[in-house]
């Protein structure tokens, strides 16, 4: 069994009327099966309202399933009385960098997680030093988070999660509010964590460019997982992706159009270099 496993996971948002009776239910996650191995880089794609953020909140036990089961490192989320112990294993980075930084100084914010876990003081300092190092924010440790750029804030947030030494980090659209530079910064940090520290990464996004380095991609639509496979397998199905209102990277689209008009190149080209070598063959 992988580090995160979901079996027939379902979740309903309930809408209450004025008397507190359930008026309406909306299925946000429907019959989702997942099995994520430790050390993998997994991307979950979907357009707005596809249920990907709701699914993300399950991976961190912020929401508990209405149906089915979700296991984090072998423990079912609805059977653990102290949920914060699960949250330590699967850290979560949110979309808005301002709303997830608690400390007034960068290093204090990174120390917040370990403080909550009851780590002794000297060890907190060690963890904070290491985590800031890993995301390249050591130079800013005494700064106020308010004066950092979006990408820097998001890296501080990632350091804050890393200081909890999680086995897995879930990033819920971490780059949606950032400019292209900030986006690159954050993705680079995430990829390095995955490769060097062997942390399992689950990246939730609707930017196609961000998933080309993933080991595995899941595509969600209307609460269901509708496609899964390697980035190459996913991106070779340009027309299916369009049906789910997702755009493929420009290079892939160009290659797809060239192929349609008769140029002999393979499907599923992800980078400019690949296209160049395919064309020069």
């Amino acid at each position: 069994m992988g580090i995160i496993k979901a079996f027939k996971l379902g979740f309903d948002y309930l809408k209450y009327d004025e008397d507190g009776n359930v008026q309406d239910t909306q299925r946000a996650v429907d019959d989702v099966n997942l099995d994520i191995e430790a050390g993998e880089f997994v991307a979950i794609l979907g357009h707005n309202g596809s249920g990907k953020s709701t699914l993300a909140k399950h991976l961190n036990a912020l929401l508990l399933p209405s149906e089915g089961t979700l296991w984090i490192d072998g423990t079912a989320t609805d059977e653990e009385p102290e949920l914060w112990k699960l949250r330590q294993k699967a850290g979560m980075v949110f979309q808005n960098p301002d709303n997830q930084i608690i400390g007034t100084v960068v290093e204090e914010d990174v120390g917040f997680g370990p403080e909550n876990m009851g780590v002794p003081t000297e060890k907190i300092w060690k963890r904070v030093d290491e985590s800031l190092q890993k995301v390249g924010m050591t130079a800013y440790r005494h700064h106020s988070p308010n004066k950092l750029s979006g990408g820097q804030k998001q890296r501080v947030a990632i350091a804050g999660i890393m200081a909890m030494r999680p086995k897995c980090i879930v990033l819920d659209e971490p780059t949606a509010m950032l400019d292209p530079n900030g986006r690159r910064e954050v993705l680079k940090a995430v990829r390095e964590l995955n490769q060097q520290e062997n942390v399992t990464v689950i990246l939730i996004t609707h930017y196609m460019e961000e998933v080309i380095h993933a080991d595995k991609v899941y595509v969600m639509d209307e609460g269901k997982i509708v496609m899964q496979g390697t980035p190459k397998e996913i991106f070779s199905q340009v027309d299916t992706l369009k049906k789910y209102r997702l755009d493929v990277p420009q290079v892939t689209l160009l290659a797809h159009e060239l192929r349609k008009s008769g140029v002999d190149i393979p499907e599923g080209i992800l980078t400019t270099e690949e296209l160049v070598s395919a064309l020069c063959r």
């Binding site: 961190n60 912020l62 102290e82 914060w84 112990k85 949250r87 330590q88 850290g91 979560m92 949110f94 808005n96 301002d98 709303n99 997830q100 930084i101 608690i102 400390g103 007034t104 100084v105 290093e107 204090e108 120390g111 917040f112 997680g113 370990p114 403080e115 909550n116 876990m117 009851g118 780590v119 002794p120 003081t121 907190i124 300092w125 904070v128 988070p145 308010n146 004066k147 804050g160 999660i161 909890m164």
Partner: protein, 267 residues
């Protein structure tokens, strides 16, 4: 820009007072306030002045910052002085119509003026040398015994420090909403007081909505980072008394003893 606003009035410097534990400074301020009320004669006030001057010198904060706080209480100070002078019965010095200035009145007025001024300067020394965060930490630790009577000390101090962190963010947001509403034709400048207050509605409603949304996000982010209240929580920067603090407590005890001795001896 709004984001450069500094909260409180912390003046960064590298002095012994800055390095002291916030609890020591809180205790020191309390002792000083008590002493100001214990002293009631000229030699007594001389001792208090000496102590205050020494503290200002040690703090390395420019003197003008100390007196800034006084601006806020000038009105109160004037009213206190005038009323004390004319309303205290006793030996009449001057008489103007029904107003009588008495010797006792003048004495009392001077005493009150000195007390109020010293109170403000004394507490300014604390706020100028302590960051709001240190102050919150100090209060949390100093008030911890109240936990026994079910005062949620940790929660209160957590709320205070979160408020401190979000004030600049919300100020920035106010600025943004204000500009957005001005671009849509809102008018925040003209009209009388009631109109102005009404004009604030398109500013306040979005601000409140956004503040609630932020609170919700933050609560979730805190939960995701294992926050589960003050139990079993450790601290990254725990407050510890150092040699400075023990020395400071010694000086405070001596000072308080002098103040009590003066009062008992009636000097």
């Amino acid at each position: 820009m709004l984001r450069d606003i500094t909260l409180g009035q912390y003046y960064p410097a590298n002095s012994v007072l800055h390095k002291l534990d916030p609890r020591t400074k809180l205790a020191g301020t309390m002792v000083f306030i008590i002493s100001v009320f214990l002293f009631h004669t000229l030699p007594g006030y001389a001792v208090a002045t000496l102590f205050l001057a020494a503290m200002i010198a040690v703090s390395k904060v420019p003197v003008k910052f100390m007196f800034k706080g006084l601006k806020a209480i000038v009105m109160i100070l004037m009213i206190t002085v005038v009323f004390n002078m004319i309303l205290t019965p006793g030996e009449v010095l001057w008489k103007l119509g029904f107003l009588k200035v008495t010797r006792e009145g003048v004495q009392l007025a001077v005493r009150m003026a000195i007390r109020l001024t010293y109170l403000v300067i004394g507490s300014s020394i604390m706020t100028l040398t302590t960051t709001p965060n240190q102050l919150t930490d100090g209060l949390e630790k100093a008030l911890r015994p109240l936990n026994k009577i079910h005062v949620p000390v940790h929660e209160i101090s957590m709320m205070m420090s979160i408020a401190l962190r979000f004030i600049p963010i919300l100020l920035e947001e106010t600025d943004k909403i204000m500009k957005a509403q001005i671009a849509r034709g809102a008018d925040f400048e003209n009209g009388n007081l009631i109109q102005k207050a009404k004009n604030m509605v398109p500013l306040l409603v979005p601000l409140f909505i956004s503040a609630f949304r932020r609170a919700n996000d933050l609560a979730m982010a805190m939960e995701a980072r294992c926050y589960h209240g003050g139990e079993d929580r450790t601290q990254m920067k725990p407050l510890k008394y150092a040699a400075w603090d023990r020395a400071a407590y010694g000086i405070l005890a001596a000072y308080l003893a002098v103040a009590i001795a003066f009062r008992v001896a009636g000097i």
